[in-house]
């Protein structure tokens, strides 16, 4: 059986690897972007000079032939679902028996005047990076539109080359459509500490053409003109499915799939950013363009393609990021301040330096733990997950909180401060019963 995979990102490649583990099927991975799989999340580090492109490839180049995974560098122009054929921009068509669509995302453009000028781009693909590089020489300023994870990455990238950056963010605090207010305020402060020109509550009106088809300035909603040689569009991403429209494939915002990642067409599966789940789990979104869900979906797709039907289950939500120097980890359900449900109680501790915080969310009535939000402190994924899965009571979590601490050795521990804060807020007298130690964490994880 020949399995074709369109897209060599984390979802497509994880699927290819697991199909190889599970079977002897012929596998072809097709990409127009690069010859080999690289870590998209590391694009920023190439630009900043932390790594070279080859350092971002998780597998050495011999890995693919050794594991009999064929790679084809081409752009799929058309999928002939009736005859199970792929048509490319170059070379012979390719016949498949089963097809996995893992085509990823594209940067959002909301119809701004000038959004297709030269020097205007998002940051998603390797080509976007090349484009950024090409425009960086002698660049007077970059304006970045959108206050998410990619926006701040792009700002950090330009900053590393001493190129001034202006950020236009619609929200009143950075990323407060995802983070609770205190954490948003922390990130906002930190961005300004680095000297970025951060404009909150500001939006893009239009991008100005320099007369030669190249961006030379932006005009904001408030009417200000900002001269710049580059405009970064980082207002989110959406599924990259345009070339599949009107092909008989059921597409909404993304490729619609059932619990087994099957599309409406037999033998055609989809996984990763490009997918819109028909039945997302409670509290989860139908489209989740995240590295981790892409990896999990790729693995699930491999099982289903190989005939072992397993529903996609992304488990308990987790994510992480880094805002300049501040690391961020989230486990479980952490809504924004404006969308905080009535029964959610917050225990929020912040270090006096304003760069570290620990937030625990729990149910006001039952005391069940609901979520962890960490800034500048590392927590152990499996420990938090076990507490969340078991619906452990907040006070049991607090007593054992040190089990979750994953900061390096000799780092100061703040769990006692969190417990003291809880005692102060509730008038209780909870005492810490654990220390940060691998043995204790393992005991907890191995116990029932």
């Amino acid at each position: 059986m020949h399995i074709a995979i369109i897209g060599n990102g984390i979802a497509g490649i994880t699927a290819a690897r697991f199909i190889r583990k599970l079977s002897d099927h012929e596998i072809t991975v097709i990409s127009a972007e690069t010859d080999h799989f690289f870590s998209r999340t590391a694009l920023m580090y190439i630009y900043m000079g932390h790594m070279r492109y080859q350092d971002t490839k998780p597998y050495e180049d011999w890995f693919w032939s050794k594991n009999r995974i064929q790679l084809r560098r081409a752009r799929v122009e058309k999928v002939d679902f009736d005859h199970k054929n792929l048509h490319f921009d170059n070379g012979e068509p390719l016949r498949y028996d089963k097809l996995l669509l893992a085509t990823g995302s594209q940067s959002n453009k909301f119809g701004w005047p000038g959004q297709d000028l030269q020097g205007v781009s998002g940051l998603y693909s390797y080509q976007d990076l090349e484009n950024m590089e090409a425009f960086s020489k002698g660049l007077n300023r970059a304006v970045i539109v959108g206050g998410g994870l990619i926006g701040i990455e792009m700002a950090e990238m330009f900053h590393s080359r001493h190129i001034p950056v202006t950020l236009l963010v619609r929200e009143k605090l950075y990323w407060d459509n995802v983070l609770p207010e205190e954490e948003s305020a922390m990130v906002t402060r930190h961005i300004r500490e680095h000297g970025f020109d951060l404009r909150l509550g500001e939006e893009l009106q239009e991008i100005v053409d320099d007369g030669k088809g190249r961006a030379c300035a932006v005009i904001t909603k408030s009417g200000e003109r900002i001269e710049c040689g580059y405009v970064g569009l980082t207002a989110g991403v959406s599924p990259n499915v345009n070339f599949l429209k009107n092909s008989g494939l059921d597409i909404g915002r993304g490729i619609k799939v059932n619990d087994f990642l099957e599309t409406n067409i037999p033998d055609v599966y989809a996984a990763g950013d490009c997918v819109e789940l028909l039945n997302p789990k409670p509290g989860r979104r139908a489209i989740e363009a995240v590295w981790y869900t892409g990896r999990m979906a790729g693995e699930t797709a491999a099982y289903n393609i190989c005939g072992k039907r397993i529903p996609y289950n992304p488990g308990i939500w987790f994510n992480s990021a880094k805002f300049l120097d501040i690391e961020y980890q989230v486990y479980g359900d952490v809504p924004t301040s404006s969308r905080m449900p009535e029964n959610y109680e917050n225990l929020y501790w912040e270090h006096p330096d304003g760069k570290r915080s620990i937030r625990l969310l729990y149910d006001k009535n039952s005391g069940q733990i609901l979520g962890f939000n960490l800034m500048g402190v590392r927590y152990r994924h499996e420990v938090c997950e076990k507490w969340l899965r078991n619906g452990t009571h907040i006070e049991d979590v607090l007593k054992n909180l040190s089990l979750a601490n994953f900061d390096p050795e000799f780092y100061k521990e703040y769990e006692a401060d969190v417990i003291a804060l809880y005692n102060k807020q509730t008038g209780k007298n909870i005492q810490p019963q654990q220390r940060r130690e691998l043995r204790r964490a393992l005991q907890f994880l191995k116990g029932g």
Binding site: M51, P58, R161, F318, L324, R378, P408, E437, L442
Partner: protein, 528 residues
């Protein structure tokens, strides 16, 4: 993007750098210090050497301190790897190649042509750079300097000044700060001051932290005689050295991994972690490099064991009645040790469960052969074991490994192959500690569930060339013989995935293949 390599530009080798005033001033002051050293290397004997020496050492230290403060203090705390791969010095550009040639050249002079550095022939006064260091040497021990004194002093200054820079660079990270203070302390106190003090007291030179087999002359007859003829302190040195090899070091390695030595105490490690830090990303991460590493480092280990057995054998042959230990006892101990180790490979399969069968057989075979050769020599009453002249073998080891590998290549190639070339490919001490770490240690780097994004920062900044990401993205513990526990992978990880840990609880499961697969095995079986 790959079309233009800014680091190879001659006109503007540091393409993206923009130095601030303290950095420029610092570099200028370092330049003055280097200039003084350079003119003396080229044979100039300066008048008032004490003044010039003080100026040079002070300039090197103060200049580096000033540069470091300018480089880091105005920036918020955090990882400082911007533009590393564009930097000419740090990414094998023009400055990198230039400094590799200069460093290598200096080591060649140091080891094989010290006269060119100004070392006076027997009885004659020193000239050049050695003469420059005479005042300091006279101050410490009342004798003029040797080329080794020059080297030791410069080495110490390098670790102290660059250690300060390292601390500022990682000032958000307490593990890095404490570890760096430790290597600075051991270099200054144990490698530099204490041996000088011992010489002044007319006692044998001894660097207590420099153990066999890194210290390859420890069991040579002149050293043993030195230690056994110098009263209590001499005997203490002997007992401490042997005790560290067989008791102290295995116990510490069991609890903490080889990092207690390689990145907290060792002088080679100290230089690599401080002066070598800007080059750590240049190590080769390929599987091929790992294969070469295992062959090379274990070959050096076998080499030094052969040399040492040969040396000790002829020592006991030549001194039959002088010591409480006899030739027979020595052979007995050797036989018990190696046969015991060979048996251990088979009776503790738990600890060696994913060791390749060929490696097991190979290691056992080598150890039994060593014993067989020794017994054969004894039975035939030979003067030499292994049918070779022990003194000749020793000479070859000192030349090829002691000088060429550890010194010339080990440090000279920093700007080309990274800071741990010697530690990774050659050091027999690292080989022994590595074997202990791999099989008898609680140490490992754990990974944080599913949080890895495969970015590659950990692998890139691993000075030992370990592909850390390969483990992290599978949720697997990192248990590698070569890991020196510097902790930089955990520091540069942008998602908080790695942590250095010690625990006996799961000691036999440390190396288990995949810890966190998203789909549990039982889930698959149920639906099958």
């Amino acid at each position: 993007m790959a079309s233009l390599d800014p680091s190879m530009s001659l006109a503007n080798p540091v393409a993206h750098a923009s130095l601030n005033t303290p950095q420029k001033l610092g570099l200028a002051i370092v330049g003055v210090g280097l200039l003084i050293l350079f003119v003396t290397i080229f044979g100039l004997t300066l008048p008032h050497p004490a003044l010039w020496l003080a100026t040079a050492l002070l300039a090197l230290t103060a200049g580096t301190v000033l540069y470091a403060r300018g480089a880091y203090l105005h920036l918020p705390e955090g990882i400082k790897n911007n533009r590393v791969w564009f930097d000419s010095l740090a990414s094998r550009g023009v400055l990198g190649w230039l400094s590799a040639v200069i460093l290598t050249g200096f080591y060649v002079l140091l080891y094989w042509f010290p006269a060119y550095l100004g070392l006076g022939a027997k009885g004659e006064a020193n000239t050049g750079i050695v003469a420059l260091f005479d005042p300091l040497s006279l101050f410490f021990k009342g004798q003029p300097a040797s080329q080794w004194f020059v080297y030791g002093a410069l080495y110490t200054v390098a670790i102290l000044a660059m250690g300060y820079k390292f601390i500022l660079k990682y000032r958000h990270n307490r593990y890095q700060i404490i570890r760096t203070i430790s290597v600075m302390f051991f270099q200054l106190a144990f490698a530099f001051l204490l041996p000088e003090f011992l010489l002044r007291m007319n006692l044998p030179y001894n660097d207590f932290k420099n153990m066999w087999p890194l210290n390859y002359y420890f069991f040579e007859s002149w050293n043993i005689q030195n230690m056994t003829t110098n009263g209590f302190i001499g005997l203490f040195m002997l007992a401490f050295g042997v005790g560290m090899i067989f008791i102290g070091s295995p116990i510490l390695t069991y609890f903490y991994g080889k990092r207690w030595y390689c990145s907290w105490v060792c002088g080679c490690g100290g230089l690599a972690e401080t002066a070598g830090d800007p080059f750590r990303h240049l190590s080769d991460k390929s599987l091929k490099a790992w294969r070469i590493e295992r062959w090379l480092i274990h070959s050096v280990l076998v080499f030094i064991i052969i040399v040492t057995i040969a040396t000790l054998y002829s020592f006991f042959v030549k001194n039959p009645d002088k010591y409480a230990v006899t030739k027979e006892m020595f052979i007995g101990i050797t036989a018990i040790l190696f046969i015991g180790l060979a048996i251990l490979l088979y009776i503790r399969p738990k600890y060696v469960h994913n060791l390749h069968k060929n490696v097991k057989i190979g290691a056992a075979l080598i150890m039994l052969l060593l014993v067989a050769f020794t017994i054969q020599a004894y039975m035939s009453n030979a003067k030499e074991v292994f049918f070779v002249d022990g003194a000749q073998l020793r000479k070859w080891y000192a030349f090829a490994i002691g000088a060429a590998f550890s010194g010339v290549i080990g440090v000279g190639f920093y700007p080309l192959m990274g800071s741990r070339v010697w530690c990774r490919f050659g050091c027999p001490m690292a080989a022994i500690l590595g074997i202990q770490q791999r099989f008898f240690s609680r140490f490992r780097i754990t990974t944080n569930g599913g949080q890895c994004i495969s970015c590659g920062n950990c692998s890139t900044y691993c000075e030992m060339g370990i592909d850390v990401r390969a483990y992290a993205q599978r949720g697997q513990n990192v248990v590698r013989a070569s890991c020196v526990g510097c902790g930089i992978c955990a520091a540069v990880c942008p998602r908080g995935v790695l942590r250095l840990e010690n625990s006996a609880m799961d000691i036999n499961e440390r190396t288990e293949a995949v810890r966190t697969i998203h789909i549990a095995a039982d889930q698959v079986r149920i639906l099958d």
